[in-house]
């Protein structure tokens, strides 16, 4: 039977960032997000410069990872520990993840590594993204960084 569980890494009341990609909404733990930047001119850089030391941070396009047709990649989620920037359509807000449920076993494909589980957020079920998959996608989806391009910081979490 489907079971409600709270894995050790999914705390009750965990703050999450809700973001949109194409027709879908996702959430990611806000603890994973260092900052949010706007993408300008519709160009997706291969890297961006880290704040402070200016080191290049690789950029991955979330729509390619999830196989989603994106309307327009407008923002970047710069992840905190994992040092990768993820291009998304846009942030839709923040919320508190009250509960996370493991993905039903019927799901047997790549989604098992894409998501930590499913979260009930604002009366809707949204997949809770596993931030590690973005790091794993860097060599496969990003070109070799040539030069870091600046992107304007929008807000911080």
């Amino acid at each position: 039977m489907s079971r409600r569980i709270n894995p050790p890494h999914a705390r009750r009341g965990e703050p999450v960032v809700i973001f949109r990609l194409g027709a879908y909404r996702f959430v990611i733990a806000s603890a994973e997000v260092e900052e949010i930047r706007d993408l300008h001119h519709g160009n997706l850089p291969s890297t961006i410069a880290a704040r402070g030391n200016g080191k290049p941070i690789p950029v991955v396009a979330a729509d390619r990872i999830f196989g989603v047709e994106s309307a327009k990649l407008e923002q970047l989620l710069v992840l905190k520990i994992r040092r990768v920037a993820v291009a998304i359509d846009r942030i839709e807000g923040m919320a508190e993840l009250r509960e996370i449920v493991t993905l039903p076993r019927g799901f047997h494909g790549e989604e098992r590594s894409w998501y930590r589980g499913l979260g009930l957020v604002r009366q809707q079920i949204m997949p809770v993204v596993n931030a590690a998959i973005f790091v794993e996608s860097v060599p496969a989806l990003s070109p070799v960084p040539a030069a870091a391009e600046p992107a304007k910081a929008n807000s911080e979490t």
Partner: protein
């Protein structure tokens, strides 16, 4: 009479199907289907029922039928996997009924069709949901 001889019969688009009543836990009005990217093609999305997240399977796709007319019910059944059991939902496109009848050998060669029922002059394909879903997930 045993439980094994009771079946839930239902229309699935142009086909008429049956499943053992013992595997059916609930028949509900369609609730919101939450969709998100995944690669398990036999699953349409998930529904939330009594606090549980239940995958909704694409019965038309599993049976290689054209897409159904609007779903009238969600049939929720117990699905056995290698790792255990969990609930599974399938869309049903019309009225369901609980019947008691004999099982005849399957004429269909489709995977997951394990027998045939005759009820009120109509033929119903008896489905083994576990086999049907398993076959769909390995294609």
């Amino acid at each position: 009479m045993t439980d094994e001889e009771k079946f839930v019969i239902f229309p699935a688009g142009e086909l008429h199907c049956a499943v053992p009543a013992t595997c059916v836990t609930e028949l509900t009005l369609p609730s919101e289907v939450y969709r998100f990217p995944h690669t398990s093609r036999e699953i349409l999305g998930v529904i939330l029922r009594r606090g549980k997240v239940i995958p909704l399977y694409d019965l038309a796709g599993l049976l290689k039928l054209p897409e159904f007319a609007p779903t009238q019910y969600h049939l929720i059944a117990v699905h056995h996997t290698a790792e255990g059991t969990e609930l599974a939902a399938i869309p049903v496109s019309g009225k369901c009924d609980l019947v008691t009848t004999d099982v005849l050998p399957a004429k269909s060669l489709a995977q997951g069709v394990v027998g045939e029922l005759i009820w009120e002059s109509r033929t119903y394909e008896l489905l083994d949901l576990d086999k049907l879903i398993s076959a769909g997930s390995t294609e």
